[in-house]
Symmetry: C2
Subunit: 359 residues, 2 copies
């Protein structure tokens, strides 16, 4: 990925090997700033405050959190306490659990004095794996966009919700990986970017990273996708995923379900891009079984932006004292999903399709 | 309706009978200010700039616009020019056309010197009719809420989109009229208020007027309704309408279609409240035939609110230079609508039901 034409990842080890550096995503799109994580508590806070977000990036950040912790305290008790604290930083993303448990499984059998180095290597391995996985998702999704272009001969219109781009991963992204792959392959395309209330990850992050890559895009409010699909202005939708169940239900940013309903109603293919690490094989019925994180009311009642004078300003957009509910995710039933694009290829969102991913 | 416990309408004639006074809805929810309209151009600007909005209120404001114009120039040419200019102020709301054509039909046969007084009386008549029509919509919708309460014995959860309250009409509102009627009848209820991007009429207006009336409500982002319905937290949805077709398709604020899809998918009754003047009997297929107003990009890219210090501040919430599309309405096909609540009673959203409204 590029920022001002320089190659970047969304997380990297500092030159002195003592810390991990991240892009502070809460400052985008107005300021590009980076933050160094020196400790497990830094990593935990970066996850909780959403300086890093996106299921895959949360996982890798948590892995580095474990690694940073092991440098200071590497006893069994410290390992347990570290893992427990990191697991609580965000409740929905299964990659967080996946990453922390992977670190725990690697480190538990080792002697305490071996853990710091092993943890650092393992976290680095996970970061590299994430890049490879997302590149593979991009290649598996590319033919869908290619086919749409061959069918119509016109720029392919793709709708996406929230940010499942490279900012949500270490590189490439999940939902945006096929879009970057198609664009780099010379296929003309245009992205409809849902602003994605609250927190506006579409307006703040997806629009920003697409612009950095030079990909044509138009921002829309979350209410608009159905209208566009009714009029044939969307060729396909691709979204990311924070947790998928064994039968193919997908939990993603709130509002994904509404777009999936509209896609289904208008015969628009609706794809979900995810690494297989996002699948929670212990769950079947996503609506009934996946706990949905509720966040602070002020993410709904207040909004932050930049004035014409360049100042960052937070304003209340409701009557004083107005109460709000803030559910962060919803679950899209598998019946509405055309296909799951994974690093192992595309599969149907049902038990038969999912089972292929186990091999 | 009440503001700080004083009775109000959203539009009234000034004591000197020389002007019409409106609530400047662009200042809500932060400031309650009123504006006097002295001329047709004032009325036209109030409609175009959305100081008044909502199909019924637009209609009555336009009627007063004609009346104000007739006081200065009442020739046939002036009447034609006045009507033509007002019709262009907002393209989607059929009530605007209905109101202007009603004024034209009343005034055309009259001598020029009779037109000013007749127009003033007719506009007043239309305002009073609007109040009566909305009160009737409230009474026809009340049993739906009552039935939900009798079924569950718990406070009735009602979801609404945009603002179809008294601020959208002269009094009572359309979608909110049954809610006010039920609340005043002692039925416990709670309203989920969609913030309704862009322009946020839910967060700015619906939340404000419900609070003024003391009705329990919770603000949600537009992405949330599907999740709530999946979990049984919505008993019924009621929305307003800007134009309906002869077969029951309804055009309303962008995003209404998505909520109707979610209601249908979860067996939640989805009602549309509208005066019969909102029906465009010349149209059948709403998606194909109703022109959808596109508004300025900065309604999407910028947002206005109030700082902690009480200052009104407009901020950009996107990367600099980000392009946006701003479709104001969408069309919900009749197949997704449980019933239309009109001043003549509730009818099915199909040709048979609609035909009953013609008698």
């Amino acid at each position: 990925m590029k920022i001002n034409n320089l190659p970047y990842r969304s997380l990297w080890v500092t030159a002195d090997n003592l810390a991990v550096e991240i892009i502070d995503q809460t400052q985008l799109p107005h300021f590009f700033t980076t933050v160094k994580l020196h400790s497990m508590r830094d990593a935990e806070r970066a996850i909780r405050d959403m300086q890093v977000r996106g299921a895959p990036l949360i996982g890798v950040t948590a892995a580095y959190g474990v690694a940073l912790s092991m440098r200071h305290h590497a006893s069994d008790a410290a390992l347990t306490a570290t893992c427990d604290m990191l697991l609580k930083a965000r409740p929905t993303a299964v990659n967080l659990r996946w990453a922390v448990e992977r670190m725990r499984a690697i480190l538990s059998p080792l002697a305490a004095e071996q853990r710091a180095e092993a943890a650092w290597l393992e976290a680095g391995q996970m970061a590299d794996e994430d890049v490879a996985v997302n590149a593979a998702i991009g290649q598996h999704g590319l033919p869908l966009i290619q086919a749409a272009y061959q069918r119509t001969g016109k720029p392919v219109n793709i709708l996406t919700h929230c940010n499942a781009g490279w900012l949500a991963t270490v590189d490439w992204g999940t939902a945006l990986a096929p879009i970057y792959a198609a664009y780099d392959a010379g296929i003309p395309l245009h992205v409809w970017v849902d602003e994605t209330r609250p927190r506006n990850q579409g307006a703040s992050l997806t629009a920003w990273e697409l612009a950095q890559h030079g990909i044509p895009h138009t921002l829309i409010v979350d209410n608009t996708g159905g209208h566009l699909m009714q009029h044939g202005w969307v060729d396909l939708a691709i979204v990311g995923c924070d947790r998928a169940t064994a039968r193919g239900d997908v939990c993603n940013k709130i509002g994904t379900y509404l777009k999936a309903l509209a896609a289904f109603d208008n015969h628009v293919p609706f794809y979900v891009a995810l690494p297989t690490s996002t699948i929670d094989w212990t769950l079947q019925d996503g609506v009934a079984e996946i706990p949905i994180e509720q966040r602070a009311e002020n993410e709904v009642t207040h909004i932050t932006g930049q004035t014409d004078e360049g100042e960052i300003c937070t304003v209340r957009i409701t009557p004083a004292g107005c109460r709000a509910a803030n559910y962060s995710f919803d679950v899209t039933p598998a019946r509405l999903v055309t296909g799951l694009i994974t690093e192992k290829g595309m599969v149907a969102a049902n038990e038969v399709g999912m089972a292929k991913l186990l091999t």
